[in-house]
């Protein structure tokens, strides 16, 4: 099934939410595995997100301007003896998109009432 252009999948909303959660926890930028761990700790998810699913979603969000990313300073990675990380952060547009999506979910269409005649 094709998704409508501009709509966000539940995973993508969770990514934005988790990214803002990490920012509130003093981690303004996050890497992929850090995000996967954050998602796994949320009430809705129980396991680490699959590689293909996660990185495809991150790329789509970045292409949509809702995330920004860059490689960390390679010297930091070398000093810590690990591969360098791609660090992401939620943009202003990403915050607004998440707020709008949550507002849309909270709006409940009133059900028609059957009045007795």
């Amino acid at each position: 099934m094709r998704r409508k252009p501009g709509t966000l999948l539940p995973l993508e909303l969770d990514i934005l939410d988790a990214g803002l959660e990490l920012r509130r926890g003093a981690a303004p930028r996050f890497h992929g595995f850090q995000l996967a761990k954050q998602l796994a700790e949320s009430p809705r998810r129980r396991a680490l997100t699959a590689h293909g699913t996660l990185y495809k979603a991150l790329q789509r969000l970045e292409e949509g301007g809702l995330l920004a990313s860059e490689w960390e300073d390679p010297e930091v990675a070398v000093a810590q003896g690990r591969p360098r990380r791609r660090l992401y952060e939620v943009t202003g547009a990403g915050e607004r998109a998440l707020t709008a999506a949550k507002a849309g979910q909270r709006q409940v269409r009133p059900r028609p009432r059957l009045e007795p005649t």
Partner: protein
């Protein structure tokens, strides 16, 4: 080498596989991000105890998304608009249906060829050999056409020819009719390959045209057998196929006029 090392190596090989021949920027970024992710998970797992199963599960669960991502990267690199997966599948079917039919005919040719070669009548060995060779030529042609489309089409069509003389032999008449359909389709496909696409050419149009033409051709041949009493059971099929072919051609003509 620990279990986690092996799991990480396997995931790394999978990443290398689905990023092969991709534009260097996309491939390099994906490989580097996954390398980092695997390292981080293993570092995290050393504290928690055993990430190997989780790494493999994440790899397996994400494999369809990896392949779709690869498809998107290749399409972007070739400057082609990305088609939705469902429509892309139907277009692939419209383009390649006749290859599937050729495969079925080839299978029958090989089976019939081996059986015929063991018969006692004069020339059985030669006839059986021709049938078997025709059947074996089809997969060769299908493989070759990925690189040289016209050569491959000619090979597939040639592979069908040994089945054609069986025309009119009882219920097995469907076999040569199917073979003739493939010959027609392969001919159209080969001429299509030689001709530059029209400005308004859409992928899959050629396949639908082939389907329409081939079904009509097959339907006409089957309907002809209405005149032959020993092939009564193909008459109804022939009428149905004539209707299908007519509907297919009407749709093609309507689509081309819009």
């Amino acid at each position: 080498m620990t279990v986690a090392d092996r799991a990480a190596a396997l995931v790394g090989r999978w990443v290398g596989f689905y990023t092969r021949h991709l534009p260097p920027g996309s491939a390099e970024r994906r490989r580097a991000e996954l390398a980092s992710d695997l390292w981080e998970q293993r570092a995290s797992g050393r504290r928690a105890g055993g990430p190997a199963f989780s790494m493999l599960r994440r790899m397996a669960a994400g494999a369809p998304a990896d392949l779709r991502w690869r498809h998107e990267q290749l399409a972007a690199a070739r400057g082609r608009p990305l088609e939705p997966a469902a429509r892309n599948g139907w277009r692939a079917l419209a383009r390649g249906w006749w290859l599937g039919l050729a495969g079925l005919v080839a299978l029958f040719e090989v089976v019939l060829g081996v059986a015929t070669a063991g018969e006692a009548f004069p020339g059985a060995m030669a006839r059986g050999g021709m049938l078997t060779a025709g059947g074996l030529l089809v997969p060769v042609g299908a493989a070759v056409r990925r690189r040289w489309r016209v050569v491959g089409d000619v090979a597939v069509a040639a592979g069908m020819l040994p089945a054609v003389p069986w025309l009119g032999v009882g219920p097995a008449a469907l076999l040569p009719f199917a073979a003739l359909t493939v010959v027609v389709a392969a001919t159209f496909d080969a001429t299509d390959a030689r001709r530059p696409p029209a400005p308004d050419h859409r992928p899959g149009d050629g396949g639908r045209m082939l389907l329409g033409n081939a079904v009509v051709f097959l339907a006409v041949l089957l309907a002809y057998d209405l005149l032959r009493p020993e092939l009564e059971n193909t008459g109804v099929g022939g009428i149905v196929l004539i209707l299908i072919g007519y509907i297919g051609l009407r749709r093609r003509r309507r689509r081309r006029s819009t």
